[in-house]
Symmetry: C2
Subunit: 187 residues, 2 copies
């Protein structure tokens, strides 16, 4: 589960949509947009899930503290992605997270997350996807890719209405059981 | 080198900034914002480079075709990231790219890239970071992380004015040679 904190409707609209779609494509089971609502993003993400398959939950408006507490009560742990945390490449933090065997809530914010996010009361681990400033979208992507040993990229999404058939050139999809090859004019 | 196609000033402002910062943090040497200009993004990215070190070029306004042709004339190859391409996890495309030994230009667009991008005249390889829709930011992140075997995440950025000292809790930085530990109130 991903918890996205600090989303500002309008300004962060595209970025948060990308974080959600990345979470889905890289193997997360859902995203919580905490402390705010954005129906347009929910609509976009839910539509992608309907067409491209699988189950991916999109919930919003829950206060972050409640979401975190409920997650922990259910036996899960919280991983806070931050450039200030333990480096995923040079430390053993990823192994420790795997060894816990627990379900993960991955918290991503922005530069101005509450200091509390770093504390034991919230995060079990503070993990840095490198210690340079970059992007919560990239952070979620690399964390999940590494955590799942890259397996999400070949995952099957059940009940998909549309599916890509990977190939060297051009676009090829299966839509409602029908093969389609798009030529360059249709692309 | 990253080539970012299809940027729309204003609407894509934050997303393209994140693509650029991700490229820098994950080991690319620069980004070209093709066919358009956006001085605000350039300013943001250049300022990050000045403060956080290393060299990272940000150029803009060059027509994509010229940028691609000049890159190829210089002996480089072009990798187009697209959900329709060869899957980086299940195919041998990454090995082939590495085996080429050439310098890479990574082209990222959006849903509506010109069909030509898929053709041999432009891309040497069409690579899918999974065959699900997600994000060019995530695509660049995972491609570079895998291509460089994760080494960019511990890379040194020379002449940095500010540097993070990774740790389990809180924030710790070195700024102009001075250690600083930020407590939760200062965070």
């Amino acid at each position: 589960m991903i918890l996205r904190w600090g989303h500002r409707p309008q300004r962060d609209s595209r970025l948060t949509t990308h974080v959600a779609l990345t979470a889905r494509a890289l193997g997360a089971d859902g995203i919580i947009l905490s402390d705010t609502e954005d129906k347009k993003i929910k609509e976009t993400v839910d539509k992608i899930t309907q067409n491209w398959g699988g189950t991916f939950s999109f919930t919003m408006g829950i206060p972050w503290r409640r979401a975190v507490n409920e997650w922990k009560k259910g036996g899960g742990i919280v991983v806070h992605l931050t450039a200030y945390g333990e480096n995923i490449e040079s430390s053993s933090v990823l192994r420790k997270i795997r060894d816990s065997g627990k379900d993960l809530m991955i918290v991503v914010g922005c530069q101005k997350v509450p200091g509390e996010f770093f504390a034991e009361s919230v995060s079990n681990f503070n993990v840095a996807i490198g210690n340079q400033p970059h992007s919560e979208c990239a952070g979620v992507a690399i964390f999940l890719d590494r955590f799942l040993h890259g397996k999400a990229l070949t995952m099957d999404f059940p009940d998909a209405k549309v599916r890509i058939l990977p190939q060297r050139r051009g676009k090829r999809i299966v839509s409602n059981g029908r093969f389609m090859r798009l030529n360059s004019k249709e692309i």
